[in-house]
């Protein structure tokens, strides 16, 4: 018995030594000069896996398309490495630190895919001079590029989205003056992403005279019965569904249970994909969400991906997911990254790009309608023009509605209340600058 125990102990130690050796060896990247490394922070496990895998899956598929069809960007092949964050801030930071130095000049851009991880990375990324692209998520006040040179909440941010929702509700109610006295519930997931719109809703409520009630869903949000009982008591006119992952589907079921009309539920764009509504079945019919891009497979670029990447079996998701809302969003991530890289190649020469060069490119992006048509994304994505002061570049959203089988666009492009939002953004950014002792850059 004694000897057996000793052998077991030595086996255990040997296993540990092998693992340590594995780690020591794993830290050696070996990269030639014709490869552009892109880190992929993804979550394929956990309650938010549907979104994480869909978006990053689309991103990776677009890069695979560029490699297959064009041999990369201007001849530089794209290589990427996935790191599982499970939507966890610690793991996100660890993945960032692990991947940031890979490639000849290091990672050019990082997509954290989580507002919480973005917050944790802002200081580090600014120090390391690697831009963070938080496409369609936080940190909202990073729209002010003078204070946040290395953070890009591209296309549109949450505060703009919330104000666009108010405009849409006003449209449906017959005018902004009809908003007075209405009751709106802000059902949000109790994580940084969920809480980010609380101040702007309060501001909008103040301006237009409606009442807003913030109800926090404890993550992961599978059980929302008590919150929906509160909603039934409160009897609001509208419920904003600001959740993520499995917590997006639950409100639809609960609303069906208490008989709250689904077409008075307005979800955010992170709760507006097929993966969110399919599990709810019939109770999802009529549910509306915002979106900032096109849906479905009817775009040349999506069809090309299915043709050139999935047919030879190189896709990384089941092909039925291609064309879902999250997938298309991922393809847009890829398109924007690729366009920024092309711009950087034009200015700095065709070679692997560093973080600083990418930052310049992201600040000077101008994706015109003609270019979008060339890429094959007409109707999928919309023109984007960034600048030093404006790290967002777009702003408008549309409303789509689930008809039981697919998403149907039910509105035109809705512009947000940009002046109100921009004022709040600048105020918040200025406070951040004061707290951190940063002098805002002077933009021309």
């Amino acid at each position: 018995m004694h000897r057996g125990k000793g052998v077991a102990i030595w086996c255990g130690m040997a296993m540990l030594t092998v693992l340590m050796a594995g780690v020591a060896l794993a830290q050696q990247p070996a990269d030639p000069n014709k490869e552009q490394f892109v880190p992929i922070l993804i979550y394929r496990t956990g309650p938010y896996a549907a979104g994480g895998s869909g978006i990053m899956g689309g991103f990776m598929d677009y890069m695979a398309l560029l490699n297959e069809r064009d041999g990369g960007i201007n001849g530089i092949k794209l290589v990427w490495e996935e790191c599982e964050t499970a939507y966890n801030n610690d793991r996100g930071v660890e993945c960032y630190e692990r991947l940031k130095a890979k490639g000849v000049k290091g990672a050019p851009v990082v997509n954290p895919l989580s507002t919480g991880i973005t917050y944790a990375l802002i200081d580090r990324a600014t120090n390391d001079k690697i831009p963070l692209v938080s496409l369609g998520y936080g940190r909202t006040d990073a729209t002010d590029g003078r204070v946040f040179p290395y953070v890009f909440p591209l296309i549109t941010n949450y505060w703009n989205q919330s104000s666009a929702k108010v405009r849409y509700i006003a449209q449906l109610s017959g005018g902004e003056d009809k908003l007075k006295g209405k009751k709106i519930v802000n059902l949000h997931l109790n994580v940084p992403y969920g809480k980010e719109t609380i101040p702007i809703w309060d501001k909008l409520a103040e301006k237009f005279g409606f009442e807003v009630k913030h109800l926090a869903v404890p993550p992961p949000g599978l059980d929302q019965k008590s919150l929906w009982l509160q909603i039934r008591e409160y009897n609001p006119d509208w419920v904003v569904n600001r959740n993520w992952g499995v917590s997006c589907t639950e409100p639809l079921r609960e609303a069906a249970r208490i008989g709250f009309p689904r077409d008075k539920m307005l979800g955010v764009w992170w709760c507006g994909s097929e993966e969110d509504v399919f599990p709810a079945g019939k109770s999802a019919k009529g549910y509306m969400t915002t979106n900032f891009h096109g849906v479905g497979r009817d775009f040349p670029v999506i069809e090309e991906i299915i043709d050139k990447v999935y047919t030879p079996g190189k896709g990384n998701l089941p092909v039925t997911r291609a064309g879902s809302v999250y997938y298309n969003r991922g393809v847009i991530h890829g398109i924007i990254t690729a366009e920024a890289m092309r711009l950087a190649h034009q200015k700095f020469g065709v070679a692997p790009i560093s973080g600083e060069q990418m930052q310049w490119a992201l600040e000077n992006l101008n994706i015109t309608p003609e270019r979008i048509k060339e890429i094959g994304a007409e109707g999928l994505m919309f023109p984007l023009k960034t600048s030093c002061k404006d790290h967002e570049g777009g702003g408008a959203v549309r409303i789509q509605q689930w008809d039981g089988e697919k998403w149907v666009s039910v509105s035109d492009w809705i512009k947000p209340y940009s002046d109100l939002v921009r004022a709040e953004v600048e105020k918040s950014a200025a406070q951040y600058a004061k707290e951190k002792g940063i002098t805002p850059r002077a933009c021309n």
Binding site: A8, G12, G22, T45, Y119
Partner: protein, 354 residues
């Protein structure tokens, strides 16, 4: 041969009562300290320092606090992540609300505030024991989580409840590079470990161990349960508070209650159990096991398996990690520290069998 103790005679009482009586142990400890202070900052890459060593040190400190409470004093606590959170928020509020507050004083203040909170939640320990106390501390965890999510005052009224910590400045010297942060963490952890080691060898430590082993007999002997148990909670919460402050300021540079959830409490408890209850070394070994091993497995798996999808790697990591926990608990139920202790005892005799 390794531990040749012939010729090592203790001629004074001080020598006899030394923390590390065997010369080889002292040499070993010196080597470890030299490696930690001198060699690691020079040799290790930024990735190792920021993502592996700093969290390891911070969690070792928190596990040390929990070990004092659970391992030495025998009071089970499932609320230690909450106390870490209290420390983090307290440090943030002290640093931002009081102008020109020195960083180290914020950490100290955070520790003291957490001490008060910990003592408050430790009051039930005077009436209930064992698993029931675990439930009371679980309540502490949930109350603290709820308080920081809902009460806006703690977050200074910021929009998103994720707080960015102010830059760290000690005596006019700004601390932001990985190495500087490593030195700050290492310094604080070394100081507090020395303090803990001395505490557990003192009368206070013996009182804790008496309460743990047989509290009725201890009380009969004259050890006051009120002061002993509350002191255990106090010291333990102080450590957790300082660890939480370090976590928020040094590691994540942001303070957010989602980092101090119930899962974190369980992890701290696992660190203490696997490392070894009632052992200072055990806290460090347990922290290394729980913090570093999953990342090492992940890295090793990516090396060996190449282009396997990450979800498979994430699941393999969980499986291997769970398997290793079971393995170590079968091989040595008293934890890794006991494993080291057994090895050392054998080495002291080797090559003789007895």
């Amino acid at each position: 041969m390794v531990y040749r103790e012939s010729g090592q005679f203790k001629t004074t009482y001080a020598n006899d009562m030394a923390m590390f009586p065997i010369t080889q142990d002292r040499w070993g400890l010196t080597v470890i300290i030299v490696i930690a202070v001198v060699v690691v900052p020079v040799v290790a890459s930024n990735y190792w320092i920021t993502s592996l060593l700093i969290p390891f040190l911070i969690f070792a400190l928190a596990a040390l606090g929990l070990n004092v409470l659970t391992g030495y004093a025998g009071q089970l606590s499932l609320g230690h992540a909450g106390f870490m959170g209290v420390g983090a928020y307290a440090a943030y509020n002290l640093a931002t609300r009081i102008p020109d507050m020195p960083l180290l004083l914020s950490f100290l203040g955070a520790g003291l505030i957490t001490t008060v909170v910990g003592m408050l939640f430790g009051l039930p320990s005077l009436r209930i024991k064992g698993f029931y106390l675990a439930v009371a501390t679980l309540a502490a965890q949930f109350i603290i989580e709820w308080a920081f999510s809902s009460i806006g005052w703690f977050s200074g009224g910021t929009a998103t409840m994720t707080l960015d910590t102010p830059p760290m400045i000690i005596f006019g010297y700004r601390i932001h590079t990985p190495r500087q942060r490593y030195y700050l963490t290492l310094g604080i952890v070394m100081l507090l470990t020395l303090l803990a080691k001395n505490l557990v060898r003192s009368q206070v430590g013996r009182a804790w161990m008496a309460m743990r082993d047989m509290d009725v007999a201890a009380e009969a002997m004259g050890i006051r349960p009120l002061t002993t148990k509350l002191l255990a909670f106090a010291i333990s919460s102080f450590y957790a508070g300082v660890a939480g402050a370090l976590y928020g300021f040094v590691f994540l540079t942001s303070v957010d209650i989602t980092a101090f959830e119930l899962e974190r409490s369980f992890r701290l408890l696992f660190m203490v159990i696997i490392g070894g209850l009632g052992s200072i070394l055990g806290s460090f070994l347990g922290a290394a096991f729980i913090v570093l091993l999953p990342i090492l497995i992940n890295n090793a798996a990516t090396l060996f398996v190449g282009t396997v999808p990450t979800n498979l790697i994430a699941n393999i990591e969980l499986m291997v990690f769970g398997g290793l926990i079971i393995f170590f608990l079968i091989v040595e139920p008293y934890g890794l520290a006991r494993l080291w202790h057994t090895t050392k005892e054998k080495l002291r005799l080797w090559p003789f069998p007895h």
